[in-house]
């Protein structure tokens, strides 16, 4: 022991930097993508805002106050001194006097929750189907034809039918809002996994012919182990990318549904609903369209940038260049 510590010099080369883990490398690469970094920051910010915001800004988003209707956002006072503004409603109020800030926060909760939940469902389904179809040749034809079948289903009409069929039982068991949440998440989830499945299958098809898989198989590794140990880590990057895209799609689909007036009850705010409610008065009160629209756009954009950054960061061939 003492000998070793006493040894002042070693002739063996000692790594000067501490050993780098794979994830640290990924992070370093990710940091170099400015867009992704901003996107990530914004996504964290918006997620925290909708999670914690309603506790800080405690105005009830559904509370009507007709005397304080049609208040403009506080910033309009900068160029229009006569504008009706009020610090009690920093982003203004709608035509029935509902606070827009409170609505944006609680609407964001619903939209983000739908987005994340539907994304998780679609990624899980897509990955399972993709890996199984790619690895087991016998199941390939069956699974991929099924994927084509689902891909050809138009999602909006399907949703309308599903809403008609399942609204009542779900409402009875879970209440109107949770019931609708389950329905929307489930439908978006099970109709948007196909791209993920196709991409994953393609990657797996290429990977399973590589030498390291052959080596693994030759020492008797079971298919399940091969998949979890060798295949999944290698297809992680396309999965992550399609997951981020899936989140964006889910938020947009929910907005479209709310915009069409099917979906959540009419007094339950979501970004899409705020947007559609504001359209008839967008000439006079542009902020009511712009604010939720901006929220949707920025969230989707930031998620797309994160996907872009992740793709670069997770690919060892690009990383470090």
């Amino acid at each position: 022991m003492t000998d070793q510590t006493a040894t002042p010099k070693s002739f063996e080369p000692v790594p000067t930097a501490p050993p780098r883990s794979q994830w640290a490398d990924v992070w370093r690469q990710f940091r170099r993508h400015k867009g992704a970094l901003f996107g990530g920051g914004f996504l964290v910010f918006i997620t925290l805002a909708v999670l914690i915001g309603p506790y800080l800004w405690t105005v009830d988003p559904q509370k009507l106050n007709i005397r304080f209707k049609d208040i403009r956002p506080i910033y309009t006072a900068l160029w229009d001194g006569d504008a009706k503004v009020n610090w009690a409603h920093p982003l203004g109020s709608d035509n029935l006097g509902r606070d827009i800030l409170a609505n944006l926060l609680s609407g964001g909760r619903a939209s983000m929750a739908v987005g994340w939940a539907a994304m998780v469902i679609s990624v899980v389904i897509g990955t399972v189907i993709g890996v199984v179809a790619g690895y087991f040749k016998r199941l390939d034809g069956l699974f991929m034809r099924f994927t084509d079948l689902v891909l050809s289903l138009p999602i909006l009409p399907l949703l309308l039918v599903a809403v008609t069929l399942f609204r009542q039982p779900l409402r009875k068991n879970f209440g109107p809002e949770t019931g609708m949440f389950i329905l929307i998440v489930a439908i978006i989830g099970i109709t948007s996994w196909m791209q993920t499945a196709r991409i994953v299958r393609g990657e797996v098809l290429a990977l399973k012919e590589r030498e390291f898989i052959l080596a693994a198989r030759s020492i008797g590794t079971k298919p399940f182990k091969i998949i979890t140990r060798h295949l999944l880590p290698n297809v992680l990057s396309p999965i992550m990318v399609s997951a981020t895209l899936g989140l964006a799609t889910a938020i947009i689909t929910e907005s479209a549904l709310s915009f069409l007036g099917v979906g959540f009850p009419s007094d339950f705010p979501t970004w899409g609903k705020l947007l559609s409610d504001a359209v008839p008065r967008m000439e006079e009160f542009p902020e009511r369209v712009v604010l939720p629209g901006l929220m949707i756009s920025l969230t989707v954009l930031s998620v797309n940038y994160i996907g872009d950054g992740l793709r670069d960061a997770l690919d060892p061939r690009i990383r470090g260049r």
Partner: protein, 567 residues
Amino acid sequence: MKFKSLTVGSVLALSMATMGQAERGSDGHVNVIYWQAPSILNPFLSGGTKDVEASSLVIEPLGRYDQDGALVPYLAEEIPTVANGGVSEDLTSITWKLKEGLKWSDGTPVTSADVKFTAEYCMHPEGGCAQATFFDGVVSVEAIDELTTKVTFNQPKPNPYGPFMGGQSPIIQAAQFADCLGAKAPECTEANFNPIGTGPFRVTDFRPNDVIQMEANPHYRDAAKPAFATLTLKGGGDAAAAGRAVLETGEFDYAWNLQLAPDVIAKMAEGGKGKPIAAFGSLVERLEMNLTDPSPELDADTRATRKAPHPILSDLKVRKALSMAIDRELLVEVGYGQAGRPTCNLVPAPKVFASPNTDCLTQDIEGAKALLEEAGWTDTDGDGVRDKDGKKLALLYQTSTNAVRQDFQALIKQWWSEIGVETELRNIDASVFFGGDPGSPDTFQKFYADVEMYANNFNGTDPQQYLAAYRCGGEPKPESQWQGENINRFCDPAYDALIDKLANTGDLNERGKLGIQMNEMLTKDTYTIVPLVDRGRVSAHSNTLGGVVLNTWDSELWNAADWYRTE
């Protein structure tokens, strides 16, 4: 008698207004814009309002409805009634007498042969007349002498003013349309585009779906009218553009039917070139209370049928409290502005059928709370929602998807929460909600909700058919494929007796009394129907156009002969 005094009154009022301009054609040119363009000037070949109204400048009926829905003689000497002998005692015939000395715009005299011909034209079996319903039940139309025409019906008609009354049933010239009977009707382009009429104007140039040029009719029966020598009726565009053309730019003098949000119209009116005017018909936005249980736990044959009474809304006190909590003034302000007014009536007009009931107009939250307490609904668990025997006072409130309706839902939900009623809102796409598909659970007929909101009205000025819809047994039910008009599943033998009585009563005042009584049975006595807003129609005229009286019972251009220039 009532008719006569009313008509004399309104004619006097109108002639007073035009006293200053006592010369035909002295006021030059007038521009009218219809954002739906007229495509034909023969209302018997088109049901479109735009065509009916455009043609009303040229061809006229024997009598019209005025702005209150009262009957005014036009080509007729007077409106026939049982009292003046014009309608037979048994209500099976009506005898019209033309004014003397009437001339068509080509100078030939108007006779009872023209009236008889008009009936033949529309009742021709091969004709496909768009206004055939006005001639329902007509057995014969006879010309008794030069000026007198007798219409006979196949059964007693308490309301015999179908044929030859109102803009949809004007008199056309026999000579011009003689070769246009039956299947040949649409081929007579010249006659359909340039009808010879008795109205204040005659067509000089007609471009279908675009512009109509007209000039004053030299043979119009009042030598001093119309005040305008020429008229342009421009068609096309949209309601917003038409509104701007009159209110903001002043290019046009009159714009028809501006279906726009109140704040949008108000914004346009700030232009200062004209003013929007509103008139009211019978369209009422209302809440319908479901008297049957829509619970999804019931089987399909029982759910929302009279076999299962509603567990909450069967109690009159609850229905009344729900109505009392609503501030109708505020609803009007938010949703309709000038185009609406608060009402407590299912039949808000015409005057003779309108109940004077205004009980519901003041919001009374405390009274509503007291009423619910009295009915046994108390908040025992302190969660802000009343309950009784372990059941919460929670309602599902549905309507069609429409910005104004969702605002109404939000407001009403808030008021109901103040009195301790929990409300779940639901909106359904209008094409599904009003679609009537018996397979869909979301139609307004099926009423799988506790409360629903929509608007409805009746055609013409007589609400008999409208009120008869609430007959016991007329409700939508599985056996009738969910078709039926008694949406609330209302059932009262006393009401049914009144329906039968109304169908056999000819005297208008008597009919009015019955109508009011039935209206009150549905609204203020039982709160089965909770009316909210009497919805009107908004048009606009320029500041320099005088004499405009907006009329929802007949053509909007019904009194174009009385229009004049104020400056």
